[in-house]
Structures are given as C-alpha cells and as structure tokens.
C-alpha cells in the first residue's frame, strides 16, 4: 500500500497533449476515481502510473520511489484492464499462481494464497476453470484476484466494467468497494461513469482535456464545483449569469437579466464585488414549496411551468424563471401532485447555490451530462 505523487506530468501523442502538466497526490489507502469523458487522458495517466506508457516529462512517485522511467515489471503493481485479460491458456489457479511465482513467493505459500484470493472474489471452487469456462464477470474477478494476490503497492483499474452488462456492472462495482475495504490497498479506478465513481470512491479526480479540473470527495465536487466543466459533467445544473455585489462570508450576487438577488456562501473562493460569476442551481436541489414555507429558504424564485413529465423515480419540470429556461427534478412521494402544473406558477426554494467564476461573453451549456435521463437547458446571456 502506498501513496502516489505526480508532478507536472506531460504525455504527448504527436501534437496532442494527452496528459497536460498534471500534478496531483493520491492518498495512501484511498479509493480514487479518475473520472472524465472519453479522450480526457485518464487512461493515459493510469498507464503512465503503470509504466505501460512513458511520459515525456514530469515525475511519478509511488511511495518514496521515483518510478517515472521504471519498467512496469519492476513496479509492484496490480492492474485490471477494460478488455478481458485472463490468460486463456491457463486456469484461474494458474493465472493467479503465476503472478506469485513471478514475485518469488515461496512455493508452499502459493496455493493457500490463491485460494484466499479466490474466496475474496467469491470464486472458490472455480480454480480449475479456464476463461472459456467462466462468464465475463467471473473472468474479471479472476483478474482482480490475480492483481491483488502479490500484495501490490497499488491496484489500478482501467474501466474494468465497460465490457460487462449493466446489471453485472452494478454488482461488481460494489464488490470492488468491498474488496477495497477488506484489503485497504490504494486503488485507482479510471471510469467515464459518474455513478460508478461517486458510488464507491472517497476521492475523485475530475479530468478534462489532459488536465485535472477538480479533485475532492464526491460530495465536495457535487456541491462545490469550481469550473464550468465540473458543474456540467456531474449531474444536471441550471446556470444564471450574475455579478457579485458583496463578498465575504455571505456573498450577494445580482442576476442582471432578471433583476434578482441571491445570497449564498462560497466555501472555496473569496469573491470580490464586481466579479463575474455563474450561479449554479442543481436541478435536484430546487425544492418546490408552498408560499408559507418561503421564509425558511435564503433564496426563493417563482417559476412558470411549461411541462411536467414523469420518468418514474422523479418528475422533470421544464419551466421558466422570467424568460430563462430552468429544469427541476422533483423526487419524493409528493411529486405526482406536480404532473398537472403546466401553465401554473410555482414557488421554489433553492437549498444550495454554487458560484463559479465566469468569463465575459461565455455561454454555459451542459455538454456532457452523465445523467441517463436528461440534457440540461443551455442558458444564454442577454
């Protein structure tokens, strides 16, 4: 078990920066997810940590050791790949045992360790099966067992569930979390699936175009996005362009286009009067309330409802704040009451607002919503 320190790492493919001056620390014993859209460089970053790709510049430290130029077979790591990687010409037992023999484990310890690992991944009894005799999910579990058997410093997972069907993915991701709890091995999971990352990771690195946009615990990234990308990649957000009137412990923001004032706290940045910001309201954090409860919210708005549709677990309301489109997700047992609210005006309390720095003239649009149900309304500046 070890921590990972990456310093100014650069990896280029021809003229494209797959990894663009990345500096990050991955804590020992954590389950860290590297999350991002396709092509953001997350797999390249993982392969540099593994030694399967050599960076152009920068350093990688695993524990105290500089492994930047070290060959992969000298690094003491375990890796699980996206494509099936269980050796087809060996049984499950042989797959795991070979790794132990490579690391010079004493002969008499090999068999007990193999059985211990097979039990860990709930495959005891299957040791004599080959990949052909196992399902995709079972083969991946053998690969996980094989990776962990020699007690590696890190466990690297490169989109390990992509090749499996949805139900299996849900099962296996929780198993990975369980294995992490039991072994305590520093685990790095690369994925494009926000749900996967948020479900099991305690530390998330959000990557975009070769750079790390934001790092933190899932709830931190969710509630306090620091860039437009963070706010749009995770979940569904509504954006309003605003100007800071007062900074300090309570930030006062004015939405010029609508002449509305919002008050909120900024946990991560000191805003100054005159700063341009995006006001972000998550569709899930807009509460539909009755008039008399308005006073218990710091910020309330009046929303005119255009459509209300039921997707099962939530009701989606497409509405307007004055003439700005807005999207609201309503959960809870009272949601069905809203299905006939088209044409009406409803009062909404904003339970949480996030502020993101804005450049003049930029538009906000949700260009990577991972939520399987929705696309966020693009908002335009007047």
């Amino acid at each position: 078990m070890a921590n990972v320190r990456i310093n100014e790492l650069v990896k280029r493919f021809d003229q494209v920066f797959a990894v663009d001056h990345v500096s990050v620390e991955i804590p020992e014993g954590s389950l860290t997810a590297i999350l991002g859209p396709s092509g953001c460089g997350k797999t390249t970053l993982l392969r540099c940590i593994a030694g399967l790709a050599m960076p152009d510049s920068g350093q990688i430290f695993i524990g105290e050791k500089d492994v930047t130029r070290l060959e992969p077979f000298k690094r003491n790591l375990g890796m699980v790949f996206q494509r099936p990687s269980m050796f087809p010409h060996m049984t499950a037992f042989e797959n795991i045992a070979w790794g132990l023999r490579l690391r010079n484990w004493p002969k008499r310890d090999v068999a007990p360790r193999v059985h211990e690992m097979l039990q860990l991944v709930h495959l005891d009894g299957m040791e004599n099966r080959t990949a052909r005799q196992l399902s995709g999910g079972q083969a991946q579990r053998v690969v996980i067992a094989r990776a962990l058997a020699p007690e590696p410093d890190l466990l690297l997972l490169d989109e390990p569930l992509s090749a499996l069907d949805a139900k299996l993915r849900d099962e296996l991701i929780l198993e990975i979390a369980e294995i992490h709890r039991k072994t305590g091995c520093t685990t790095i999971l690369v994925t494009h699936d926000q749900g996967e990352a948020f479900t099991i990771a305690d530390n998330v690195l959000l990557m975009n175009a070769g750079r790390i946009e934001q790092q933190g615990a899932p709830i931190d990234i969710y509630q306090n996005p620091r860039t437009l990308f963070s706010a749009t990649f995770i979940g569904t957000n509504n954006f309003l362009p605003g100007v800071v009137l007062e900074g300090g412990s309570e930030v006062v923001v004015r939405i010029e286009a609508l002449d509305i004032i919002f008050r909120t706290q900024s946990s991560w940045k000191e805003f100054e009067p005159g700063d341009l910001v995006w006001v972000c309201m998550r569709a899930d954090d807009i509460d539909i309330i009755s008039e008399d409860r308005a006073s218990s919210y710091r910020n309330t708005i009046q929303v005119g409802v255009d459509h209300a549709s039921l997707t099962g677990g939530i009701v989606i309301i497409e509405g307007r704040l004055a003439d700005q489109p807005l999207r609201i997700h309503v959960g809870g047992s009272q949601r069905f009451n809203l299905l006939d609210s088209a044409g009406k005006t409803i009062v909404c309390g904003l339970s949480h607002i996030a502020l993101i720095p804005r450049e003049d003239g930029r538009q906000a649009s949700n260009n990577g919503a991972v939520s399987s149900l929705l696309t966020t309304t693009p908002l335009e500046r007047h």
């Binding site: 003491n76 990687s85 490579l102």
Partner: protein
C-alpha cells in the same frame, strides 16, 4: 436473397467442375501410376512403373529434401518470428521500410530472385556454390514473406492486453514472450512452420539454378524428365514424394494438436 433452384444447381455443377479441374492432375497421376499409362479412361492395370523407378536415387534425394526442409524451416522460424514480432508489436524508425522490404522476394518473379542470389553467391562465395548450406539459405529466403505474414497474422489477432498484463504482473519482456505470447500464437507459428517445410522440401528453383551438388527430390525428378521424357515412373515418384511430405505434416499436427485446442471451436 434466395436464388431459384435451377440457378443453385447450375452453380453447384460449376463449382464441382472447377474443383474437378483443379484436382484432375492428381487423379490422373494416381491413375497413371497404377496403369503405367497416360490416357484417360485407363486401359489396363499395371504396376510396371513402380518397378522401373530407381528407388535408391529417389530415396537419396528424398533424404536431401527432408534435410533441406528441416534446416530451412528452423532458419525461417529463427529469423521470421522475431521479425514478425517486431513488425507487429513495436514501433521503431524504419518499420515501414522493413515491412516493405520483407516482401521483395514476392515482388520479383521467383526465377529472377533466385538468379540474383546465384550471381551474388558466384561472386562472393565462389567455392561454396552448390553446397548444402547455400541451398538452405537460398531456399529459405524465398519463403520469408510467407512465413512472416503467417506469424504476423497470428500476432495481429492476439490481443496485446495479455502481454501488458504479464508485464505489470512482473514478467520481463523475454519471459512474457515465451510464457504468454508464444503459447497464444502457437497455432500460427506451427502453421507457418508446416508451410515453410512444404515449400522448402519440394522447392525446385533454388536448388536447380544454384546447381545443388546433392539434388533434392524436385530437381531429381526434373532431371529424370530431361533424360527420359514423360514416363509413368514420374507419376509414381511424385505421388510417393507427396505422401511422405503430407505424412510428415500430418504427424506434426498430431504431435502439436494440443496447441490447436479451441482454435477450431
């Protein structure tokens, strides 16, 4: 698209005719060997051709052929396996050049290529002309493109992920190659070896043009033709040669059948 029945029948007949034309020389040879006659339909049954063959000389040249096949195949695998691996798995400056150059023996007509080798040998190895090692090398060179292509094909369809997994697990590149890559490409390598063996053992051009001192079977049979013309003994000789070569190939596949487990599944 379902074709009308009569078209299916016509196509079937056409296919059978083509197959018949291609297999005809073999059938005629088999008939000639047991009739000592070259006409069809066969007139009489006679094993005289078998008695007229000079078996001593024939089996001596068969022995040369088998040795030629063996050494040429070993040389080819030794050269082409690393070459195919480098071409398929590695990026290096000059890779596309090497990939193109490897196919040169196929670009030129074989006879031109072998004559060029002969000229080269005549200039630099004047004393060794016709010696067995030179024949082995010249024969092998002609098969390089085919063997490289066959092994490369096997590598191309083997996922690199297994090798990457082995590397991260702690196996150095050499160990990875012998314990992981090679077992996975074994069918392709064995097939390449049988192709190399057949090509080399039955090769005519290289031994003939370079004046092999110990003629392999194809040259031996050709010299018979030059001396005696087309006689029924030829059919017997060719058939015996084929049976022996095919028998060896079959034995190889039998010995290595475990490697092909799952390939035809």
């Amino acid at each position: 698209m379902r074709l009308p029945r009569y078209i299916m029948v016509i196509l079937n007949i056409y296919a059978l005719m083509l197959a018949g034309i291609m297999i005809w020389p073999v059938i005629q040879m088999m008939l000639t060997s047991v009739t000592s006659d070259v006409v069809f339909p066969p007139r009489n049954f006679s094993l005289a051709a078998f008695e007229r063959v000079l078996w001593d000389g024939f089996f001596k040249s068969m022995g040369v052929s088998l040795q030629l096949g063996l050494w040429s195949t070993l040389l080819l695998i030794a050269i082409c396996l690393p070459a195919a691996y480098a071409l398929e798995r590695k990026r290096f400056p000059g890779r596309s050049l090497l990939g193109a150059v490897i196919f040169v023996p196929n670009i030129f007509p074989s006879i031109t290529y072998v004559i060029a080798i002969g000229v080269y040998v005549a200039i630099y190895f004047i004393g060794l002309r016709g010696e067995f090692p030179i024949i082995v090398v010249a024969t092998a060179m002609g098969a390089i493109p085919l063997v490289v292509r066959t092994i490369q094909g096997s590598l191309a369809t083997t996922d690199e992920v297994y090798e990457e997994a082995a590397l991260v697990m702690g196996a150095n590149p050499l160990r990875t190659f012998f314990k992981i890559t090679l077992p996975l490409i074994a069918p392709g390598v064995i097939t390449a070896a049988t192709i190399a063996f057949t090509f080399s053992a039955t090769n005519f051009l290289a031994p003939w043009i370079l004046g092999a001192k110990e003629p392999p079977v194809a040259v031996y049979i050709y010299r018979d033709v030059e001396r005696l013309g087309f006689t029924p003994q030829l059919a017997v000789q060719v058939l015996v040669m084929e049976f022996i070569i095919l028998g060896i190939i079959q034995a190889l596949y039998l010995i290595f059948r475990k490697q092909f487990r799952g390939v035809f599944a």
